[in-house]
Amino acid sequence: MAIDRFTGEHSVAFIRSEQLFDYARSKSLWYMAFGIACCAIEGLMHASGPRFDFDRMGVFFRASPRQADVMIVAGTVNKKMAETVKLLYDQMPEPKWVVAMGACASTGGPFREYPNVVLGVDQVVPVDVYIPGCPPRPESVQYGFICLQDKITKRTEERLAARRDRS
C-alpha cells in the first residue's frame, strides 16, 4: 500500500508509525493453510483447535496465498512439491514470513536420505523460524509463532539502530 512509501528507511518523521505497523503485523499473522504431511494435523488442525486455539494470538488461516502473511511449511518437501512451494511463496504479498515446521521441513527429517526429498525447505524459500520435532507439538508451534512475533517487532529496533549509527 502507498503508506509503505512514507514509512521507508529514510523518513525519520514516521519512525513511530513504523513501529506501530510492525507491532500490528506481529499481532495479526494470518497463515496460509498449506499442510503437506503429518505436521499439518498437529500444526494446523490441533493448534487451531479448542485446546491450543491459535485465534487467541490473532493467528488464523486464509486459504488464498494473496491474503496470507506466514507460510507454515508443515511436512516433507520433495522435488515435485518444491516448485509449488516456491510459487506460493512468490504469490504472497510482502511482508511475508516462512515457518519451517518439523524436522522434514527443516532438514529433511527421517526421509533425508531419499534422493527425491529436498533437504529442508530453506533450499527453496527463505525461512524465518525453524520448529524442531517430528511432528512438533502444538505448543511448539505456538512458541515458534511467539518467536516470529519477537523477530518482527525487533526489525524496527534494528532499523533504528542502523540509522543511529549512520548519523
Binding site: 500500500m1 500490528a24 495479526s28 479448542p50 511482508p95
Partner: protein
C-alpha cells in the same frame, strides 16, 4: 451550517459508522465463532482481544498490494469500490430512530434494495477481472444466486408495504407500534430471512466464496486493503440486511407496550441492539451449518420461495380487501 456541509457530514458519519461497524462485527464474529466452537477467540490484543481487528486493519493497510500480471487492471481496481460504495449508500435510508437518520426517503425501502442489488455486479467484476478460474466460478455463482434471490427478497417485503401503504421506512416502523409485523407476516419473514442470507453470501448459502470448494472465491486474487474492502463490505451488508429486517418485521426502534416518549432518548440503542441480535443469529448459523449446493439453492429459490411469496402476497391482499384493513381503510 450550509446544507452542503451537512450533507458532507452525513456522508462522513455513514462512512464512520460503516467502518466502525465492520471492525466491531469482525471482532464479534471471531468471538462468537470462538465460543461456539469451545474456544476463546482473540484474547491477546487489549482486554479480551478487543484490539485484534484494529491490528488486522493496520496490517492490511501496510501490506503489499499485489496486482497479478494477467488481471484486467481497470476492472480489478474498480470492483472492490463497486462492492464497497453500494454497501455504504444503503446506510442512507436506515432509520436509527425518529430523528437519527441520514436521509428520510419516501421510497427508502426500495432505495435500500436497489443499492444492495448493485453489489453482484461488483462481485462478478472481481471474479472476472482476477483472471483466476476459481475467482471466475465464484463471481458467476455470486451473480447467479444474488440475482435469482432478489425477486423473492423484494416480494417478501411487499405484503408489509401493502399493509402499511408506504415505502418510507419510518412509516413502516410507526405502523408497528401495536404489533410487530413478524407475527401476522411470519411466512413473509421466513422468506425474507432465507433470501436475505443468500443475498449476503452467508452460510449456508456462501457458495460464492465457499472456502472448501473455491479457495476464497471471487476474493482469491485480492490482497491487502482491496481484500479488506471486500471483507468489510460483506459485514456492512449483513448490518444493512439485519437493519432492514428489524425495521420491516421487528418494529425498528420501538418496543411494544412502551410509550414512544419513554423510548425516544434510547431509540438508537434499541435499534442497534436488535440489529446486533439479528447479526448474532447469522453468525450462529455460520458457525454450525453446512453449505447447500448451487443447484439445490436455485431450486429452492425458483421452485419454492418465489411461488410462496406470490401466494402470500395474494393472501395478504385478500385479507386487506375483505376486512378493509390497511391504508385504504379509515
Amino acid at each position: 451550517m450550509s446544507p452542503l456541509l451537512i450533507v458532507v457530514l452525513r456522508v462522513l458519519a455513514a462512512i464512520g459508522l460503516m467502518l466502525a461497524n465492520g471492525v466491531v462485527l469482525i471482532y464479534m464474529l471471531r468471538k462468537v465463532l470462538g465460543h461456539l466452537h469451545v474456544r476463546l477467540g482473540p484474547m491477546h490484543m487489549g482486554p479480551k482481544g478487543v484490539l485484534q481487528t484494529t491490528m488486522d486493519v493496520l496490517k492490511l493497510l501496510t501490506k503489499e498490494d499485489v496486482t497479478p500480471t494477467n488481471v484486467d487492471k481497470v476492472l480489478f481496481f474498480i470492483a472492490p469500490a463497486l462492492v464497497f460504495v453500494p454497501a455504504l449508500m444503503a446506510y442512507a435510508a436506515i432509520p436509527f430512530s425518529e430523528t437519527w437518520r441520514i436521509t428520510d426517503l419516501d421510497t427508502g425501502l426500495l432505495y435500500s434494495f436497489a443499492a444492495l442489488s448493485v453489489i453482484p455486479i461488483g462481485l462478478l467484476m472481481a471474479g472476472w477481472a482476477s483472471a483466476n478460474k476459481w475467482s471466475l466460478l465464484g463471481g458467476m455463482r455470486a451473480a447467479g444466486q444474488q440475482i435469482a434471490y432478489e425477486v423473492p427478497l423484494l416480494l417478501s417485503v411487499l405484503p408489509v408495504v401493502m399493509v402499511v401503504g408506504s415505502l418510507n421506512m419510518s412509516d413502516i416502523v410507526a405502523a408497528q407500534s401495536g404489533l410487530w409485523f413478524v407475527i401476522p407476516q411470519l411466512p413473509a419473514f421466513v422468506i425474507f430471512a432465507i433470501a436475505g442470507l443468500v443475498e449476503l453470501n452467508q452460510t449456508p448459502f456462501d457458495m460464492s466464496e465457499a472456502e472448501s470448494e473455491l479457495v476464497a472465491g471471487f476474493a482469491s486474487e485480492y490482497s491487502a486493503m482491496k481484500f479488506g474492502l471486500l471483507f468489510l463490505s460483506e459485514f456492512s451488508n449483513s448490518f444493512i440486511m439485519s437493519a432492514i429486517g428489524v425495521t420491516v418485521f421487528f418494529g425498528g426502534w420501538m418496543i411494544p407496550f412502551v410509550p414512544a416518549e419513554v423510548m425516544q432518548p434510547v431509540a438508537p440503542v434499541i435499534f442497534m441492539t436488535k440489529v446486533y441480535i439479528g447479526i448474532f443469529f447469522m453468525m450462529w448459523i455460520r458457525g454450525t451449518f453446512p453449505r447447500v449446493r448451487i443447484d439445490q439453492l436455485m431450486q429452492l429459490g425458483w421452485k419454492w420461495l418465489i411461488p410462496a411469496s406470490l401466494a402470500w402476497i395474494m393472501i395478504t391482499g385478500l385479507v386487506i380487501k375483505v376486512w378493509q384493513l390497511g391504508p385504504g381503510a379509515s
